[in-house]
Symmetry: C5
Subunit: 264 residues, 5 copies
């Protein structure tokens, strides 16, 4: 569970709500059931039309990806792959079968089992790259659903407000109620813009950033599996995989590792 995401969602709604209360507003005037129907109903409907049912069913999955923290640290993954490469060099790739079967991570497991099976290296790369593409496409689609909702919500808000204004302006019999009626019309804009910018768009962005991290980890694993299959020197493998990590002035960790690798 990524706490920053949960706290951010709550904090955003609180900042808006308490800002309004602090100004002297009444909580009740923020709640307008017709605007709720128009904005959330309209956004939901437009999003449902935009995607086939098979994609819409993946929304809970998308939410899980948005809130979940990356489960595997790249550095831990590098250690694991280097360890397995050492075993493979000493005892042959067949020695990895039990270890591979015990793995949680499906991409690494699948890749290692292909290596154990003696699959042709070129075919291994091809299959793992196709799997990587499938993950990328899936995550992009998930982010796109929220992005699409985030694009429709403000326009549904505008539609709600315009319909509210049409209603108000058609019945000017009682000018005294003009102000409150326009206020009601504005709640639709508020719902649309707030739901898009506090919920849909930030979640879409989170899914995308998490997907990028996942893809990067898959690339690291792919490079590691292929190097292991080619029987490369474990220290060279570590060096290569470390290059996926950032190396900036002032950062000592990677430099030390590289220095060590260089001395060996």
């Amino acid at each position: 569970m990524d706490l920053a995401t949960v706290i951010g969602l709550i904090a955003g709604i609180c900042a808006l709500f308490f800002g309004f209360i602090w100004e002297g507003g009444h909580a009740a005037s923020l709640f307008e059931k017709t605007a709720l129907l128009i904005v959330f109903g309209g956004t939901f409907a437009a999003t449902a039309v935009s995607f086939p049912l098979s994609k819409l069913k993946r929304i809970p999955d998308a939410l899980r990806h948005a809130f979940r923290k990356a489960d595997i640290e790249p550095l831990a993954m590098i250690d694991r792959i280097v360890d397995m490469a050492t075993v493979a060099r000493r005892e042959g790739v067949l020695a990895l079968e039990n270890e591979a079967n015990a793995l949680e991570e499906p991409f690494l497991k699948n890749g290692l089992l292909m290596v154990v099976d003696g699959t042709d290296p070129e075919l291994t790369r091809q299959i793992l790259e196709l799997e990587m593409d499938a993950v990328e496409r899936e995550r992009e689609q998930q982010a796109k659903i929220f992005e699409t909702a985030g694009g429709f919500a403000p326009t549904m808000g505008i539609i709600g407000t315009v319909m509210g204004l049409i209603h108000v302006l058609s019945n000017l019999a009682d000018p005294g109620s003009l102000g409150p009626s326009i206020a009601v019309a504005f709640t639709a804009t508020l719902y649309g813009v707030a739901s898009a910018n506090l919920i849909y768009l930030p979640l879409a962005s989170k899914i995308k950033t998490n997907a990028q991290e996942r893809i990067q980890l898959l690339e690291l694993m792919l490079e590691g599996i292929l190097a292991l299959q080619a029987g490369e020197n474990p220290q060279l493998i570590r060096k290569k995989l470390n290059s996926f990590m950032l190396l900036e002035p002032g950062e000592q960790r990677t430099k030390k590792v590289d220095a060590n690798a260089a001395q060996e």
Copy 2:
């Protein structure tokens, strides 16, 4: 027929309409024939100018693509290709001729007939990739027509409203009618924004998502046809084609299939 799309379209219009009625609005004040002419006429005209007649004639086809469910499941397609690869290995590719002629799917049929004819593998790939590009281009064009309409509709709405305001403000003799007249002007904005965001843009998005699924299926078929032509091991073909499908932690199906394939 993709029910999510049909229900979404109806639900969106209902959410807006009943939201307005619930607020106390009169259905009649949402119907304004001059605004209808300006917004729908203008959008239609601008879209007609944007595309050659040959593309506009494909709109019914585009609608069919938007509402149709994907007819072939990728998993069923994989089974079929693996079956045919088994036949081809045992009895030679000529044995596939009758099966190919009975196929509904034109891309697979065309590809298999080329294999049966003994077309050069490189030429087969080239021709099938050109056909794939033609499908991609066609679907993108279809989505673009709706996207273009979705871009013009809100601006036509603004034009209608501005013309309404020009009319109202030029004749302020009777200030009492100011409100209702402005309400009438606003219906143009409502038509423009609502038609774009409930109809044109969601349909464009749906056509694009469906096109992506179709292209992905064509890629799977292309890979399968070429592997079959190369006389590859049917289990390897299944393994390769399965990689087009998503492999995520928690998903057991593909893992099992791969495990089986690995054991054979």
Copy 3:
């Protein structure tokens, strides 16, 4: 002449104009000479600054491309190339010289003459691809001029309206004229948004769509010329060039042609 484009342009302006008249507006209140100067003068000036004179001189050419129908049908072109490939196979490429000189289509003519001259195939491809790039660049530039004008026009409309409001609000001596004066200010917005969305942007889109069709035809010709030069089998050439055309379920034409080709 693409009738859809001409009718679309006229229909769009009519829809707006008669919508306004139907509402009870006076045609005269849509005509405001200062707004005309600001919006069309400003758009023209900003567009003139955006491009070098050499590009601006191509505007008539761009208009010609926007209104012209595609002159050559891809299917007719395929027939012609296959015919010439048959001649070239029977009588040698030199037999094509007269036919090539009689051609209207400069790309095909130029390519065939190079083949007749015995130009190296690699050089032929290189030169024809450079020519194709030149056409693509030119058409994109032409579309961009209209797109740029379509981007400036609405902002010029806003400038005109803001200037109108500044003028009106500075002189509130006679409140009675406030309404009509604001109406006048709004005509600038009307001109800007309408000219962009009924004229500039649709024409830009049309030029782009036509350019795509032209480029596709050039690619088909390029592939045909190279295949002819390589002395490929005319039926194979037809098969390859047919792949540039769409092959969809329900479409019989291409399937039949392919089936025929497969039987030969």
Copy 4:
């Protein structure tokens, strides 16, 4: 000096100014020193933050590129390269040394001197491509500065107007001054939108279009230098370089040249 650019800039400002005067506005009400400070100061500051000092120093250079006409015609450049190729074929590349040293055009000069020096063809291509990339990057950066300013200016205008409205609405003691005060607030919007759309964005577009022409000329020179170094036939070089130019139906020039080349 590209006259279209200078005239366009002046014409745009005149169209707006005289449109306003014609409407009966007073020139003085368009001049508001606080709005000037907010809009131009804010735009300048935001742009200064957006780029490092080293890029900001290139603004005069960027302006020079925006206003300058292309100095070399592609056709003249082709003639020159073909002439030099003829000399190189007859007398060897060393004969080009004096001619190269006398050249104004640094890219061609540098390339020819490398050829004269006997630099390896692959290295020549590599170095010239790196130089081409450096030009492209530089021009894109220059265009981006103006584009960035064109993005900030309208928002600074909105900021100025909002601050003006805050000021006006906080002091409603004298309702008579409400109109003129709002008019003053609107001048900020006017400055922001007009400066962006009449100056910054058109100049950015001009720099980009000129850069494209320059890059195209560099590509032509690169191809010419490499062909000359390879000792290719001058007529073939002309044919190849001519392909960089547009070849359209109705255009006779290039066709004739190609016909001539074909007869030789």
Copy 5:
């Protein structure tokens, strides 16, 4: 420290503030604590949801990159690499070990140590390119955080203003306070648009421009390290690395260097 950035940030805020004061506004009316909470709290929350905690922790690092001047001049870097190439040619690459260890620049140091270690050239390129990609990704992410904040801030401003208007319009008991209350509501828009356009977006742009310069320097170093490893002629290396710099008409520096190199 890049002074242009610091001065720009201060100047932008001053331009707006003093413009407002000059107009006769009271500084106090620009300070509204509820708007501060809504706009800055909302922007912070939405941005926090958009990125995983691991990326948010890099914000101080991102700010350091935004304000820091490029520490190494490309020309000085070229001199250094050419010097080292001269040493490597005379005394062998092992002679560079001490010099490499003394280097500040981690990319160059890491690359040279691999050369000293006798790492395979292809592997050296692969590792250095992976490191370059990691830097690029990291900087893009940093810029994206500020870009995202710059996208959310204006919408939070609109939310604040709409909530303010809802509050005002619901309580029209005292019409005299209508103006000042709307003024208060507008401060939220002011905060949102100003913070986005004076702070977030310019900083994002600065980080991106600096990242481009850094990547370019890394490319130059990569090319230099590989050339040095290949034992290329130092003058050729200088010539190649100089091509990363701009070569424009009127610029004498690079031309001279190239002329010299040509004479040697």
